[in-house]
Symmetry: C2
Subunit: 144 residues, 2 copies
Amino acid sequence: MNKQEAFFKEYLRKKGLRFTPERSVILKAIVSINGHFDVESLFERLKANDERISMATIYRSIPLFLNSGIIKESIRSDDRIHYERAFGRDHHDHLICIKCGAIIEFKDDRIEELQELVCKKYNFKPVEHKLGIHGYCKNCLNKK
Amino acid sequence: MNKQEAFFKEYLRKKGLRFTPERSVILKAIVSINGHFDVESLFERLKANDERISMATIYRSIPLFLNSGIIKESIRSDDRIHYERAFGRDHHDHLICIKCGAIIEFKDDRIEELQELVCKKYNFKPVEHKLGIHGYCKNCLNKK
DNA sequence: CTAAATGCAAATGCTTTGCAATTCC
DNA sequence: GGAATTGCAAAGCATTTGCATTTAG
């Protein structure tokens, strides 16, 4: 049993919820995804693996993965909510290409620090933040 | 005729589109809103002013206001797209209270500069960015 | 004139939910 | 056993669209 499974089981136990085969399969799929995903792509991935889990079950499992910290909301595109694995990964921000859709992850400690300062200034207690820079990626700039 | 109206008319003219009474009324409403809004609240505001403009017309006008630069997408909450006036306003980022929903606008030039540096590093050409910090505002911290 | 715009109602598409059957603990 | 979970289909809701009618330019 890997770390995230133990972690998720513990979360469920504390909440009095169950670790079902479906949740196990969904968790494995989530962990196997490196980039961003939405419910649809998760469903397709499961179907490709001959797993017959309904959309309803996936939708119902998402809050569990969110609240447990296994995943977090990512950038939104095409009007769908996208997620990304959070467990065992560092925080990062995104460069999003508005032409090809490419997503580049980055982290800048100085930006993080400055955000802390801004929060202090406003007596605001930050919980999380999202920074997305939209523009043209290297490849798309060259093609133009 | 005020600046934004002239500006919007010019945009429409260039696109071969029309400046209709409906668009005029919607534009006035948008300009009168200081904070953030969504289609629903825009509709309610118009109704309060005895303006009978259909939701469909509002929805169809949004891309025009977006593309002309009169408004821009703001933070998203409650599954609805929120907008804010962009014309004649400086760029800013947001602190969003996850308890009471309060929104505090801020701008930090150093953060902006660091973002430029990040983009340079990745040969990325930024067009716009969104930074939202979610947490607890001053008031909600005191109440806890 | 005539292409664009409007209002209405129907359609769309993502997400949620009621319910009966199943299953984990 | 009994509450939690599942799948299915139906419902919800924000947003979009087809169409007949009106209207800006």
